[in-house]
Amino acid sequence: MTWRPALSRAAMLRHDPVRQTDLLIVPERIVVLNEEAAAIVGLCDGERTVADIVAELPEGAEADVVEFLDRVRAEGWLR
């Protein structure tokens, strides 16, 4: 089955107006996302495939995006 990345139940994505940044919050950790990472995670809605996500991002980023998504899934923050 094609993977359609979505945030796992453990993870919450939110903007932090105090620190002007995006955060991924999990049970024992707060991950500060840079702009690129936040843009990718923001597209993980359970509808888009990895190819769909790549298509919405600037050209030439495919390898980095795929690696990033795999890494975040390995942490258990995406399903």
Partner: protein, 359 residues
């Protein structure tokens, strides 16, 4: 000054368990002094505005607060991620459903050892069977599920069995936390203190399990033993705030006994407390340090260690943490030897309204 990221909300000091390692203060806050629902809602809103994004809802046993769901909802409404830290006693399917509905994000369940007999002996009350039922309820809910075990002389040798128990309960994370000697834990330090050999064996067991399982195993080091102090709270007044059941606000959950005038959220905003209260500024940064900390290259890494431990061991919270090998007081730790009997904590603070469901 940076903004705080996290809050430890001690919703009540009442607890059905009587664990002798409890880090609650020996002078437990009375139930009649507890903050109201509305006060917690205001504290959560002020904290979120200041920068808090993560709240551990703890105690005591937070399930003893009948208004836990509205408190969770208030945090969720402010965008604050909530984790319930519970003994599991009272965590029924219905209760957890109500909390999840309110926005609860994750659950951390405590257990005292690997078997019912041992867990109940350490908890001081029969509670293991209820923990087993709670574990099944959390696992079935699909909420992120962590197990927490405080380790000491009486259960370190069972660390492998404890990990097996967690795996069989379906947890995603096991926090193996060596006892921190504060509150009741300090009172019972002698009886809880492990041997170096016990620690080495347990650490080797944990290392083995790391190769066998994907479940995250967190080993919280016992800083009495390795000559390097722990970085107290990531720096005093740097990352986290603790709110006591009666509204006192602390830079660290162990700071109850320090000779500081603790600010109260009933009298001041969380913003004022964080930025201006004398208690939060007492050991902030590095300006307060004396030697050997003041010229130490590690001072921005460990912040001189733990103020509460320095005070508990030397009577002066401004001294270098004796856990540090460079501390002139380090010999105080070498002189400690473990063994003996312990004192169970009181089941609940003496005041009206305390829960009496414990046997």
């Amino acid at each position: 000054m940076s903004a705080p990221w996290a809050m430890l909300a001690e919703l009540t000091h009442a607890c059905p368990l009587r664990c002798p390692y409890c880090s609650n203060p020996v002078e437990l806050a009375a139930r009649s002094s507890e903050l109201s629902t509305g006060e917690w809602q205001r504290i959560l809103a002020e904290s979120a505005a200041l920068g808090v994004v993560h709240a551990h809802l703890s105690g005591g046993e937070p399930l003893l607060r009948p208004d836990l769901a509205p408190i969770v909802a208030a945090a969720e409404g402010e965008g604050v991620y909530t984790q319930l830290v519970t003994s599991g006693v009272g965590l029924t399917e219905r209760r957890l459903g109500e909390l999840a509905e309110a926005g609860l994000r994750s659950v951390q369940l405590s257990v005292q050892s690997a078997t019912g007999a041992e867990s109940d002996r350490i908890a001081g009350v029969a509670s293991f069977a209820r923990k087993e039922r709670a574990a099944a309820v959390v696992a079935a809910s699909g909420l992120p599920f962590g197990l927490n075990v405080v380790l000491h002389r009486e259960n370190l040798d069972a660390v492998g069995e404890i990990i097996e128990l967690g795996l069989s309960w379906g947890v995603a994370r096991i926090e193996l936390a060596n006892t921190q000697f504060y509150g009741w834990g300090l009172l019972n330090r002698t009886a809880l203190l492990p041997t170096r050999e016990q620690l080495a064996r347990a650490e080797a067991t944990v290392k083995n399990y790391r190769e066998k399982t994907d479940v995250e195993l967190i080993w919280v080091i016992p800083d009495y033993f390795d000559g390097v102090p722990k970085p107290c709270m990531g720096g005093w007044g740097a990352i986290s705030i603790t709110v006591a059941p009666d509204g006192r606000v602390l830079p660290c959950p162990a700071a109850y006994d320090l000779p500081l005038e603790l600010p109260n959220a009933r009298d001041h905003s969380i913003g004022w407390i964080w930025e201006h209260s004398p208690a939060f500024n007492a050991y902030r940064g590095t300006g307060w340090m004396r030697e050997p900390c003041a010229s130490c290259p590690r001072k921005e890494l460990d912040f001189g260690g733990c103020r509460c431990q320095a005070y508990a061991l030397t009577g002066d919270a401004g001294r270098t943490d004796p856990a540090c090998g460079l501390s002139p007081d380090h010999h105080l730790l070498d002189e400690l030897a473990g063994g003996g009997t312990w004192t169970f904590r009181r089941p609940a603070p003496s005041a009206s309204g305390a829960d009496r469901s414990a046997p």
